[in-house]
Symmetry: D2
Subunit: 353 residues, 4 copies
């Protein structure tokens, strides 16, 4: 644990992921929020006036009177910068902050595919964090960029990692039923989703992300880069009328056959790598396996382990591949703001700040 | 077209599928409803008093004052009997009606797997209707039992049939997002589905049905039985907060490769077998292919072709198999009551009554 | 009935009310749509490309290939112009069309309070239509502007008129539970209404409208103006998670006491003024009184009389005033597009075109 | 604070209110749950097997392995007994427990109207608790029955009490938009409430309760009974698609006129009677006044003050009476289980156990 609180900032503080950052950083044992940055339209206003708060927990007191600053390296000076920026803006700003010395822990997709950029879920690939050394060398930066995956990739990849360790994963069919908060605010119009589902997310882009990102996270750190895992994914992404919590139905082909009971035990017994195990945001447990026939369900299970735990259920034989199951993950906690904070904690504990 | 209206009855008339029967039979050009049967609790009451009407179209006038009779062959005498009975009751009653000379057009799952029982979607396997001859011979019945598939199998199987004709279907991954009306009334409690999805339907039974039923319908009529199609299915069934309309995400492995554009054209151009093409309930068109990136959607597309058309969209390459797409079908019209009525029309036009 | 179809146009054709106009005008016996106008952004495009269709009935064929024109009097020349424009634009454009000779049948609120502008619900105040004569004289127009009320005022005012005729209405408490389609598209974000209600509509403006508009419609035509009815209203407006159909809980103070049964009979037996009784869009019946304890309900009752009928239920004694009841009206049919079309039909049949 | 934990039991432990009791009693500083009782069907099973848990917070560990006992005075011996029983069963059982020496803190409606039974909201009428002395004398009981009001009366009465203290309340129009959890589990079928509202709760009974219960709570303790407050209520009760949190629109007639700003200040500054102020479940604050134009909203505000605070907003002039406003209260916390627990705490601190 650091001796004194580490100053952190949130970029994109007024949006839906920005709000989760602010909520999760309330009373954080290591971090102290020193700056909230947002678009020019909001800069200069008090946070409580600029943000339309949409979480069902109250706005933390510390944030209410903070005056929003512009999202640039003059206005924002913090050891750690959490980025909830839109992709196009993140493209431009995140390297500027890294150059200026901040560790950028980003939820944006901009640099996830960068060769020397960690795409991180500490409970499964904490060692990938060491890519930041190459990244600093390559760019001459004192700061760095560390990313977390797309919210739909998150829970799925965590479950797959455990299975891959034990049985080898070769092929994955995955169909998502994604929550509305994943689209930000105002996001999905109510007339589009009441009494309805939308069989497409991000105009196809979501499927592409989930077919690629897990391969990097399940890949091996090989000197200064990641060898992508040799796994094929086919993904169907859907939006459903759920506020928070992405549900994914997966069918998985394995190298070594197993049965559902064995797979269930392996998932239940998984522990995170030591470096990622006792951080403030470490999921406790990493995976919860539900034994009921109709779980996990987003409303009932999304807050398991304060929203950081991956919940798995319905492990059964797959008639074509080997295993079928359902994975649930809280998309704006484990899948977004909580993910970036967990990554930042790993940076701190590994002395990589 | 028959010279005089054919007398028909509805068994299980007060439930959600029973209500659809009553609604779809209003002003039917060939059929005249002569009896509505339900449980002993309802028998003797006027239909308008016994049924809690849940459709958003009004209860037809003809039904309001009909007095409900018990579901037995004494009380119900009709050339065609539509069955919306629960499985256990259908098990017992449907053969009694067939023996008594009625053509039972059933939405129940009881006899779908019977060797000499047609499992029918006229627009794709109208020829299977001729199984009823063997059925009559085997049982010494003057009536018969004809079944339609589970509502989730319906749209999927219709799309697969067209692809199978042209390219040969080998493997199918399918994930359903099923509507609430599929669970009947009262069915799913609101507290279970608001802000939620349930990753299980019928306690696993739904998946088993959809992994088997299409194989019979895609099979070949071989003398007096059906050779099951040699296709493997893996199904994930989910309940979502939609009133009507089942959405299915499918990935399909083919014998002969193709591209999405060709497959789309084949689906769009499909016409039903001649015998099933011009019946009162024939879907017009059989399949509608939507070209938008986010269709079909249940609220917007379920009433295509008066709820009898199968709507397909998002045809694209599958990274593991060959094709990915989305299918939508109205579960209580094409997938239930409308299906049984269409089957009855085929019986009439083929002179099999 | 006119000998030849009357050419009509729709202004604001791509929005949610515009779509209802297009849908309701499909196969209209008197009117033929000759122009669809929308914002400059859409002008020049085919309607099927410019509009994001949100109704659950398909886009009519006639509209698909019509090329959208700008909303000005050069581009749009039609005997009747239906206005689904936003208030600020309607403020400016509607008088231009009236001056150019079109009868503007408007759903906008811009001119509802104009002294010589009819605010019309033909089944209750058809005689107010004659204000257009004064309006033409006052402005030197060959065309005119005729308005229909706010969607929440609509059903309430119709029920009140019948009670007022018979018993005299003095005071009205009304609480609305309003549908999402009333906010247009994209309108209410899903994150704002899922598992929620919003106790405010139009930032207070809705309540003000419903506290005033009924007084004009319930008022008396006195030469060239309307004497507002001397009735006091207190309104609470709420948005709820319903797609279509506004529900209103009302408590009414009367001049002459009555009992719920008598009031119910009076409502049930009401017939429209003769001039408004047999028009193509006349509600049949004007009012339907439901006797069940839990009706009307929006999903089940909004399409009564093709969405033009006002549905009333739960008539009972009020412990403070005289009567309590519930009113339901389809907000985009009777309360918007259908209202303007009905008004246009009255103009035609009264030879006021 | 008691020296040693007080043993408590929950009757009706498996239902939706029972679950809230179990959840709120987890780590309670004064109380220790020693028995969970339910119907004979559940008795003998572990709680985790018998209850279908529907809260979005996990089942507390302490309850999981407790074996459910029958709801009778042999099996359940506890100083305090929380009753989440259905009315008919509560009618019979609650006096038996009171006779056997338990203080029954009941959420059932059975004895709310009893002359010597406190109907209690401690933050406004803590002094009514002293009715239990008369109750004990009248019945010869060592135990007692203390009730909390209907969940819809709760928030409304708290707000009215503050206004009544200051300005005198004479008449109240109130329209509720009530959450689904108020109907218990399974409660409202999803097909009844999706895309819908139901303008009736409890077949009229809810309105009757809310028109009477506040009069007792706003009444004055006069020796051994309560003089009902001379206030007239007219209530419209509606069910809406919200999981938790009842919203009420109220119009209030006062004895002494005031303006919204003054009323707002009075509500905001209210403090509970001293005896009820510092108990473990005391709402902090009693009332929160929101200044936004569209608050309170159930999803955003129901957990204010851990679900015990009454949230008020939209204070404005009423065109017929004096004031209009909106009140929100968590129906299963402040309006049910939390209410009974708060009452029990008052019994303890007043030495009335």
């Amino acid at each position: 644990m650091p001796q004194t609180p580490i100053p952190v900032a949130v970029l994109g503080a007024t949006g839906s992921v920005g709000q989760r950052f602010i909520s999760l950083l309330d009373n954080h044992p290591w971090f102290k929020v020193v700056a909230l940055a947002a678009s020019d339209r909001s800069a200069g206003k008090k946070y409580s006036q600029a943000a339309r708060w949409i979480l069902d927990t109250p706005m933390p007191d510390y944030a209410k009177d903070m005056v929003i600053v512009p999202a640039d390296t003059d206005a924002v000076q913090a050891k750690i910068v959490f980025s909830a920026l839109h992709t196009e803006i993140a493209n431009e700003l995140e390297p500027q902050f890294a150059k200026a010395g901040s560790a950028v822990c980003s939820n944006a997709s901009s640099y996830r595919r960068g060769e020397d950029v960690p795409l991180l879920l500490p409970e499964i690939n904490a060692d990938h964090i060491h890519l930041v050394k190459a990244q600093r060398a390559n760019n001459g930066w004192s700061g760095c960029i560390v990313t977390n995956p797309n919210c739909t990739s998150t829970g799925l990849t965590i479950a797959l990692k455990v299975l891959d360790n034990e049985f080898g994963v070769k092929k994955v069919f995955a169909t998502s039923l994604q929550a509305l908060s994943g689209a930000g605010y105002p996001g999905v119009p109510s007339l589009d989703i009441m009494d309805n589902v939308i069989p497409n997310v991000g105009n196809g882009g979501e499927e592409e992300k989930v077919e690629w990102e897990p391969r990097k996270m399940l890949g091996k750190l090989n000197n200064d880069k990641i060898d992508l895992a040799d796994i094929r994914f086919s993904v169907h992404a859907n939006r459903v009328g759920v506020i928070d919590g992405h549900t994914i139905c997966a069918s998985v082909g394995l190298t070594h056959q197993t049965d559902p009971e064995t797979a269930e035990a392996v998932l239940r017994n998984y522990v995170a790598p030591e470096s990622a195990r006792e951080l403030p945001s470490s999921p406790r447990p990493v995976i919860e396996v539900r034994s009921e026939a109709d779980r996990p369900q987003p409303r009932l299970d999304r807050l398991t382990g304060k929203g950081m735990t991956t919940v798995v259920g319905r492990l059964r034989r797959d008639p074509i591949f080997d295993l079928k199951f359902v994975v649930l993950s809280h998309n704006t906690i484990r899948g977004a703001a909580g993910a970036s904070i967990y990554n930042a904690e790993l940076l701190v504990s590994e002395n990589l700040l």
